[in-house]
């Protein structure tokens, strides 16, 4: 399972990362190995080409947005801490893990709110805090591809904004977004059982 050199001590700032993100050391190790796997030239950081090398991601309609989310604005590389911080949003919640202080004060990275903020950022590419009609259209276009007419896309976007936009400013703010996803969130106790927990000890 990885080279002999991949031990926790080799991970730069491993302890701080663990505290900050809440990953266990096994998880962190696995992520580090994955990071190294993706980082083909062993540069120590990832560029977007490394992400694009993941085959399935290219088939993903919003693949490029996801990749974008790893990069902090203005940066062209992703180092391991950033990598882990993004993935921390999807860490499965544990009920009784006690971490020293990192859980109470700042909201844990994988709380629902943080996940929603992350998703919101994916929609709202220009980071102005609102999803405009155009941004929604882009998302729809990406997801639906070439199979639909522009007309249909417009209608859908129109309808979506009408339904969600409570303050009638023709954009979807984060609060409105939260209300929508209240129903669609797979983590909610409606029947939600979709597993976003990726790191339960399984990895290829």
């Amino acid at each position: 399972m990885g080279s002999s050199s991949s031990r926790l001590s080799n991970i730069p700032n491993g302890q701080e990362l663990m505290q900050e993100t809440g990953f266990s050391d096994a998880h962190l190790l696995r992520l580090y190995e994955r990071f190294q796997f993706l980082d083909k030239d062993n540069k120590g950081h990832l560029r977007s080409e490394d992400f694009e090398a993941v085959r399935e991601l290219s088939k993903n309609p919003i693949g490029d947005r996801i990749v974008e989310a790893f990069f902090l604005p203005g940066q062209e590389t992703v180092d391991f801490p950033s990598f882990v911080r993004v993935l921390a949003h999807f860490r499965p919640k544990e009920k009784n893990r006690t971490r020293e202080g990192a859980q109470q004060e700042p909201e844990p990275a994988n709380s629902r709110n943080q996940k929603l903020k992350f998703a919101f950022r994916l929609y709202d590419r220009d980071r102005d805090g609102k999803i405009s009609r155009v941004e929604l259209l882009q998302v729809l276009r990406e997801m639906l591809g070439m199979q639909v007419t522009e007309e249909q896309l417009q209608s859908i976007a129109e309808r979506a904004i009408q339904e969600a936009d409570l303050d009638k400013d023709d954009t979807i703010s984060f609060d409105e977004f939260r209300k929508i996803s209240f129903h669609a969130d797979p983590h909610r106790n409606r029947t939600g059982e979709a597993r976003a927990c990726l790191l339960e000890g399984k990895q290829t």
Binding site: V54, E56, P92, R141, Q154, R159, Q162, P186, A194
Partner: protein, 806 residues
């Protein structure tokens, strides 16, 4: 018949109807009773007559000629079967009617209880009338005729996503829970029988057999009760799913123990064979169902010319799946569920809207009648059935069943919660345990037991008692308990388009993250399945264009269709639901610029003022939309001219156009410098609207170009040289007559389009937006156009305007 006179003779109509029902009921029953007796009397006569016929044809010939020609004769025998069935069905339906006229009663007592009581009454009546109750709950009849509609209804409308998400939990409850129940009850009963004071002498295997019969949660009862309490989706799907999937376990256990209770012993080998048999029964049933489901979906691909028999395919294929599975002693219930669930997404894409409604209503109707009949027959069979009451056995059974259920649910939940994200709370557990109702399946299985089986009567009595207990006590008290415990109720959440978008988005997001992590999890495989589905299966099973339609679009159109229907039903558009934005703020007109386009080929934005851009986009879009709409139209409809569906489609179009219309107006009024109203253009438009003519909002130049309409009013507007025409549409008056005419108009518009796109493209863009290409990149074309027209001077305007003239 004096029943017809009854409503006239009474003054208060409201009070007369329930009385009428009761009257009819008693009449029916008495009629049936007396008719049957008469039938019994007449049949020996006809039989002897018939018997006499055969050996001595000559003599009977003589006999016949001597009798006078019967002007009016009565012969019950040859209609006996269907007649009785119809009477029962009629009785059941009248009962259903009757209950809802007495609202107080139906609030307190669930329908199933009332029906059983009615059955008891009817049974008593019949017994009095005839002293011999016919065996109505014949197991054959039950399993082959009464049960399938209910299960098919459940399977066809099974909410797939919650079901799949909770499949692990459901299977645990269904398989492990039922096994536990069976062995616990059976074993402890056997232990009880060992006590000499009990006076019972039942072997281990018969006890286990009994345990396996009584342990299965019954889907019919669960459906009947849970439907009325509107519990939240999770609990509903858990209990309901369990009741459906435990059929395989019950079947295997029942067969196993029945076979061997004769022999008297079970070896380990038999146990192993039993386990293997379980897998075969369960998976085989699902396989059969899936095969038939695919066949049904495939057949529906070709039904575009014969819409009327579309529902039939669904029903017949599903029933065949059930029968085939039963033929091999596989689980018919699972076959039905699999068939319904598999076939639905594909069939719904293929069949017409009317067929869909038909299927829905027929399924609901049949399952409703079946359910009613089952409960009534339970009542009748209680009166009739051979009973042997043994206090100890019966009370022990009831108590043990309850205890087993509680322990089972508790223990299983403890284990399951380790694997679930959304844990089951104690309240949930309580409801799940409390909702474990037994019903007619258990009774029928008991009834199926060999008549020579000496314990049969005791078992039947105990089974009936348990059923009565669960249905009456638990059924009646579950509603107040749900209120008391403040269990989450079903949210009346209509899936909005936003949810749909968001759900899909999240799916993609999570799949993407999984891929980045290199983790082949839940989402990864789901995504792979979806892609496989889209690529191969859909193409194979769905006719024509619909196979390429993404789920979101299908969903969107379903919603629009629903709204359109509402619109029509509410009187033709007096108020368009989800009203158009009344104010359009300035910001939104400007499309946001991308800071750094990640993909340069697609996102280069031109240097155009926004109004221009929007205008051009709209012009292009409306024209491109025409061709697109023809190409992407729902071909399945155009093959069979279905005026209503076209009307709905047109309503959708109309609404879309009106939305665009509104936006366009706002934009144009804000951005244009000299709003030069044309000669009577507002009045003309208003006149147009009032007369119900075309309010289709495309600038008139284009319309002139495209339509060969001979409408004199519509198209005399010439463009001003430096301003776009303003056409104000008075949206306040979309009245019914208008909307009707609009439909015609738009219909004409579409049909007029058949001749092809007249519009000549602006120079430099030839061929880029012509019709003929189906899947072109609309967006790219617009970009090209915008780049060509980057200079918004008057010359360019005219340049652009000109080609739109004929």
């Amino acid at each position: 018949m004096f029943s017809r006179m009854a409503p006239h003779s009474r003054t208060g109509f409201a009070r007369s109807v329930p009385e009428l029902g009761l009257l009819l009921l008693t009449i029916l029953v008495l009629l049936e009773g007396s008719v049957l007796r008469l039938g019994a009397a007449s049949s020996p006569a006809t039989q002897s007559h018939g018997a006499a016929d055969c050996p001595k044809p000559v003599e009977t010939h003589h006999n016949k000629t001597k009798k006078a020609f019967p002007v009016l004769s009565f012969e019950y025998d040859h209609v006996k079967m269907p007649f009785e069935i119809s009477l029962w069905v009629l009785l059941a339906s009248l009962m259903k009617l009757g209950f809802h006229l007495i609202p107080r009663l139906s609030n307190i007592v669930p329908e199933s209880c009332l029906l059983i009581v009615v059955g008891l009454l009817v049974g008593c009546l019949i017994k009095l009338a005839r002293e011999d109750v016919p065996p109505v709950l014949d197991s054959q009849f039950f399993f082959l005729c009464l049960l399938p509609p209910i299960i098919l209804d459940a399977g066809y409308f099974l909410p797939i996503r919650p079901f799949m998400e909770n499949l692990g939990t459901i299977l645990m409850f269904a398989v492990v829970g039922t096994l536990w129940n069976a062995f616990f009850v059976g074993g402890l009963l056997f232990a009880l029988c060992q006590i000499p004071q009990a006076g019972l002498d039942i072997g281990l295997l018969p006890c286990l057999l009994f345990g396996s019969i009584i342990s299965a949660v019954d889907p019919v009862a669960v459906l009947a009760v849970f439907e009325e309490i509107h519990i939240n989706e999770l609990l509903h799907i858990l209990v309901f799913g369990e009741s459906l999937l435990n059929d395989a376990v019950t079947l295997v256990l029942y067969n196993l123990f029945e076979e061997f209770s004769e022999v008297g012993s079970v070896t380990v080998l038999d146990g192993i064979l039993g386990v293997i048999s379980f897998f075969i029964v369960a998976l085989g049933g699902v396989l059969f169902g899936a095969i038939y489901g695919f066949l049904a979906a495939f057949t529906s691909r070709f039904t575009s010319h014969t819409r009327v028999i579309e529902p039939l395919f669904v029903f017949v294929y599903s029933y065949m799946a059930y029968l085939s599975a039963e033929m091999f002693h596989l689980s018919g219930i699972m076959a039905l569920i699999a068939c319904g669930a598999v076939t639905r997404p594909y069939i719904e894409a293929n069949i017409s809207h009317k067929s869909h409604t038909t299927i829905k209503y027929f399924l609901k109707m049949w399952s409703s009648v079946s359910e009613t009949l089952i409960f009534i027959f339970l009542g009748v069979a209680t009166v009739e059935g051979p009973h042997r009451w043994n206090w100890i056995f019966v009370t022990a059974t009831v108590i043990l069943c309850l205890v087993a259920r509680v322990i089972g649910v508790g223990g299983l939940t403890y284990v399951i919660n380790k694997f679930r994200i959304v844990k089951l709370t104690t309240k949930d557990q309580f409801i799940i345990a409390y909702g474990g109702l037994r019903g007619a399946i258990a009774f029928s299985l008991g009834f199926l037991l060999n008549k020579s089986f000496e314990m049969r009567e005791i078992f039947l009595t105990a089974i009936i008692t348990v059923i009565f207990f669960t249905v009456f006590v638990q059924g009646m008290t579950i509603k107040p308990l749900v209120e008391l415990l403040a269990v989450k109720k079903k949210q009346e959440a209509k899936r909005s388009i936003n949810e749909e978008i968001h759900t899909q988005f999240l799916d993609h997001l999570l799949t993407g993250i999984e891929d980045i992590c290199g983790h082949y999890g839940h989402h990864h495989w789901k995504d792979k399945l979806n892609r496989f589905n889209k690529k191969y299966v859909k193409k194979f099973l769905i006719a024509g264009e619909r196979s390429k339609e993404p789920q979101l679009i299908a969903f969107y159109h379903k919603m629009e269709m629903k709204q359109a229907i509402q619109l029509v039903e509410s009187g033709g558009g007096s108020k368009l639901p989800s009203a158009m934005p009344s104010t359009v703020s300035m910001q939104n007109i400007q499309p946001k610029h991308q800071p750094a386009p990640p993909k340069p080929t697609e996102r280069a934005l031109p240097q155009l003022p926004k109004s221009r851009e929007e205008e051009i986009r709209k012009i292009l879009r409306t024209n491109l939309q025409r061709t697109r709409q023809r190409l992407h139209s729902y071909n399945r409809h155009t093959l069979v001219a279905d005026p209503d569906e076209n009307a709905f489609k047109d309503l959708i179009l109309k609404k879309q156009k009106m939305i665009e219309l509104d936006r366009k107006i706002k934009e144009m009024t804000m951005y244009l410098t000299v709003p030069a109203p044309h000669q009577g253009s507002p009045t003309m438009s208003r006149a147009r609207l009032a007369s119900g003519r075309n309010t289709d909002f495309i600038p008139a130049q284009q319309q002139k170009g495209n339509k060969k309409s001979s409408d004199p009013q519509a198209y005399n507007i010439k463009p001003a040289s430096d301003a776009m025409p303003i056409i104000q549409v008075d949206l306040a008056s979309p009245q019914s007559p208008d909307s009707v005419n609009l439909l015609d108009e738009i219909g004409k518009a579409d049909r007029g389009e058949e001749q092809g796109l007249i519009m000549k493209p602006p120079p430099g863009l030839s061929g880029s937006d012509q019709h003929g290409e189906k899947e072109k990149d609309d967006w790219r074309d617009q970009q090209k156009l915008m780049r060509c027209l980057s200079d918004p001077g008057p010359g360019a305007e005219e340049d652009e305007d000109e080609p739109f003239l004929p």
